[in-house]
Symmetry: C2
Subunit: 132 residues, 2 copies
DNA sequence: CAGTATCCAGATCGATACTG
DNA sequence: CAGTATCGATCTGGATACTG
């Protein structure tokens, strides 16, 4: 197997991006890692229907109101979810996953599953490393 | 299409993990997103041969010595790269990608390519959002 | 050469309190 | 109900200086 071919396509593609596009790509990858984005998206996808702010907050256990608000705004800004406001009293706001958001989840899932499946490998690697 | 099936496997798998395993899984996903890990791994993979610290630093443009050291240690700890020290003066240290590291890159690549290909979608989404 | 040590700026996130 | 505002602890990463 030729190691140099792994990720080569990604590197080539990366080189073809402008600085701005590259920064945005990084940004999207980074989004994966922040504490609540992926979880929030998966809740909206799993529900398959619009969800109010408070329902999302219930399902994303442990998130603070502030962090959830920020997470939802970022996801909305990037076109991964939609936010619909109803002019009612008390106010109602509904969040839904978009087609782009679903696409993103689909492309993340294989990687995520692989990591979870290999969790034992990482545990032993760390044990070996720490016990040296 | 049934939205509720997207990412469902990941959620199920996630539920089956212990708290410790779940934390580790998050950790690995987070590793992806930090500023230099993916880039560093892709450099080692693309080279396909052991690389000295200073060579890695040249190719991962913009990384500081401190950040590169930290990145390399984390990757080593997780079994994604190896670090070989030669008892010479001046000291020589060589880094290589592992099979596990290559596997990880292979599972990340599709997602990464998808993001890069959709960079225009994200740009217009942001432009729409900001101009409202 | 390949780090370590120290300092510092900025971002992140939770807790808490307040509001249209 | 769905936020915003503020504070503080914690983390991240860069710059700089020093060392086996």
């Amino acid at each position: 197997m030729d190691k140099s071919q792994v990720f080569a396509a990604a590197i080539d593609l990366c080189d073809s991006l402008t600085e701005e596009e590259d920064a945005l790509t990084r940004d999207m990858v980074t989004r994966l890692a922040d504490k609540w984005s992926l979880w929030t998206m998966s809740v909206l996808a799993a529900t398959g229907a619009p969800l109010r702010f408070s329902r999302v907050m219930e399902q994303v256990e442990g998130v603070s109101q502030k962090s959830l608000t920020k997470t939802l705004r970022q996801l909305e800004r990037d076109g991964l979810i939609t936010r619909k406001i109803f002019a009612e009293v008390p106010p109602r706001v509904e969040y839904s996953i978009t087609a782009l958001g679903l696409e993103m989840l689909r492309h993340v899932e294989p990687f995520y599953l692989w990591v979870a499946k290999n969790v034992a490998n990482f545990q032993t690697a760390r044990a070996d490393f720490d016990g040296r």
